[in-house]
């Protein structure tokens, strides 16, 4: 198999801004009718003049710093000329020479160790409108255009061709998303917030550029498809041609777009309506506002709370989850908190497709405190979490209502049930005394069934061993044999 070479151009919307990049139209258009958030500037009407959103520049610098980039002394906008129905002016205001930042990197945590993916450049540009296709993209007779998105501030992050597998590409995107959300400049849950162009080639072959992939999973799927397609061409002795392709998310395939435009056809020239921006002098102030980033937080969690790196890795994967953990860990044991937040709560949330905001850290603290006091079992605590997520309520209410199932049985009751199970299953107990593991599992299973899992396994094992000892003492012959 030939080596796969992948580079990404990631377009992220700076959608935490209140207004668009060059006009004051609101960015809150997601639940609105089409073409209700526009003005002469973002509709490209003659005579309208763009004015740069200062905060957009600051947010772009923030991102560039977080991606370990060189921030340039100054930057400027260009016009990139092409005709496409989603582009109102016949050009996109973008950057060309003098992008805001260059030469950065993102570190990926792979099974084989750390991988550094180099960032070639980061630049600002305006978002085009949104095309709504009637039917599929290659069959529709016309397109409908919603310009609410037109003029949204975009950041394009371009990697060097350092990625080697579709999975790496997905991890890269996750890491980038993670960093952007920590910086509070990006909300990934909004539709259209991220779009990716992926360049992919097999070593020695021409590259295909897959345009406009709009989901994280889509990127991995499109790349997997392209590897198969290009490998098949090579196997049949057909040359891979350099071309632009479209990813059809529904069918999971890429289609040739046969565009005629090349780089020089964009006829970039300086945007005369916008003046240059000096950025170097803004960097020091912005640096001071940078929050703790994911990698630093992961290290701190391990050092400060003594939790495992694996737990730290899960906890920092979402800022909300990391904050939730810290709130809980200051109230109850940090390792217990890490296990319950990263392993159990996160799993229950994922299963329900919910995010951490669906659960209150206070409730988690209460549950863990009861658990620590040993009044409910682990299984009971899981039941409380599930009940809160599915039906609502507070831990104390739920424990009260379901106390019969949740409260840990006192040792006497546990003993009675265990003894009964032994009595009812003499054969299995005999086997257990001979040291057969399966027999132990069987007896344990019976006890759990009787008690609906409300006793601790260790208590049952203790009781079983105690009974075994008694039995052996009462039967000296057997003892001698054993």
């Amino acid at each position: 198999m030939k080596e796969v070479i992948i580079g990404l151009e990631v377009h992220v919307q700076l959608n935490k801004l209140r207004s668009k990049l060059f006009c004051s139209c609101s960015t809150q258009y997601h639940d609105s009718e089409p073409d209700t958030h526009t003005c002469p500037v973002c509709l490209g009407l003659p005579g309208a003049l763009p004015v740069t959103n200062g905060k957009a520049v600051d947010n772009a610098i923030k991102v560039a710093l977080a991606l370990n980039c060189n921030i340039e002394e100054w930057t400027m906008f260009y016009r990139k000329n092409y005709y496409y129905p989603d582009l109102v002016k016949g050009f996109q205001i973008s950057q060309y020479d003098y992008p805001i930042a260059t030469n950065g990197s993102i570190s990926l945590d792979m099974e084989g160790g750390e991988r550094i993916i180099r960032i070639k450049r980061v630049h600002m540009e305006e978002d085009p409108g949104k095309l709504v296709h009637v039917g599929t993209i290659d069959k529709s007779r016309y397109s409908l255009i919603d310009y609410n998105r037109s003029g949204m501030a975009l950041l394009e992050v371009v990697t060097e061709p350092d990625l080697r597998t579709p999975k790496e590409a997905r991890l890269f995107l996750n890491k980038l998303k993670n960093i952007l959300e920590y910086l509070d400049v990006f909300d990934s849950s909004l539709e259209g917030s991220l779009r990716v162009d992926a360049n992919i080639s097999l070593a020695g072959g021409a590259r295909a550029e897959i345009k406009n992939i709009s989901s994280y999973k889509g990127v991995e799927k499109a790349l997997l498809f392209e590897i198969v397609r290009q490998n098949n061409l090579v196997r049949r002795g057909v040359k891979v041609v350099q071309e632009t392709r479209h990813f059809d998310e529904v069918r999971g395939i890429t289609i040739s777009l046969r565009t005629k435009e090349g780089e020089e056809d964009y006829r970039y020239f300086p945007e005369p309506d916008l003046v240059p921006i000096t950025i170097a002098d803004r960097v020091d102030d912005i640096k001071k506002t940078l929050p703790e980033l994911p990698d630093a937080k992961r290290q701190r969690f391990v050092l400060q709370y003594g939790i495992s790196d694996n737990h730290a890795k899960v906890l920092i994967s979402e800022l909300g989850l990391a904050n939730f953990f810290e709130t809980v860990a200051t109230e109850v044991d940090a390792n217990l908190s890490a296990t319950w937040v990263a392993d159990i709560l996160k799993g229950e949330l994922n299963y329900r497709d919910l995010d951490i905001s669906a659960f209150s850290p206070n409730h988690m603290v209460q549950i863990l405190q009861v658990l620590k006091k040993d009044t409910i079992t682990e299984n009971g605590a899981v039941q409380v979490i599930r009940t809160i997520l599915d039906e609502g309520g507070t831990p104390s209410e739920i424990v009260k209502i379901k106390s019969k199932d949740l409260l840990k049985m006192d040792v006497d009751a546990s003993e009675n049930i265990t003894l009964r199970v032994i009595e009812e299953n003499p054969g299995a107990f005999q086997d257990f005394c001979k040291g057969k593991n399966e027999a132990m599992h069987f007896l344990m299973g019976q006890v759990m069934k009787e008690t609906h899992g409300t006793v601790n396994r260790s208590t049952v094992i203790e009781l079983l061993n105690k009974s075994k000892k008694e039995k052996l003492q009462n039967a000296p012959d057997n003892h001698r044999e054993a």
């Binding site: 801004l17 209140r18 207004s19 004051s24 139209c25 609101s26 960015t27 809150q28 009718e33 089409p34 073409d35 209700t36 958030h37 526009t38 003005c39 002469p40 509709l43 009407l45 004015v51 740069t52 959103n53 200062g54 905060k55 957009a56 520049v57 100054w74 400027m76 000329n81 005709y83 496409y84 129905p85 003098y98 095309l131 709504v132 993209i137 290659d138 529709s140 007779r141 016309y142 397109s143 409908l144 255009i145 919603d146 310009y147 479209h246 777009l257 046969r258 005629k260 435009e261 056809d265 006829r267 300086p270 005369p272 916008l274 003046v275 240059p276 921006i277 000096t278």
Partner: protein
């Protein structure tokens, strides 16, 4: 050097239909304009480039959302529209 083929391509990029006659006539005209630009070669090489004629930098507005125009006004000049959208050609 601009040839008839370049003119043809430029016409396509600008979405302008050129007649056969124009395609014959334009290469010479465009080449003479390009020749005129060669005068720039006489400028000393150490002159710093002019990126902008205004001499201004850092003109910003605050990140405050303002009023947009109505959907009706937005679509007012559109030759074709449908359900609040602009209607455009099929692309690709």
């Amino acid at each position: 050097m601009i040839t008839k083929k370049t003119v043809d391509h430029l016409g396509w990029l600008a979405r302008i239909k050129l007649t056969e006659e124009e395609k014959e006539k334009f290469p010479d005209q465009l080449n003479s304009i390009l020749d005129y630009f060669e005068k720039l070669d006489e400028v000393e090489a150490d002159v710093s480039p002019t990126h902008h004629v205004l001499g201004l930098t850092n003109v910003f507005r605050d990140d405050v959302a303002g009023q947009s125009i109505s959907q009706e006004d937005a679509l007012g000049n559109a030759p074709r529209k449908e359900r609040g959208y602009f209607k455009g050609p099929r692309i690709i």
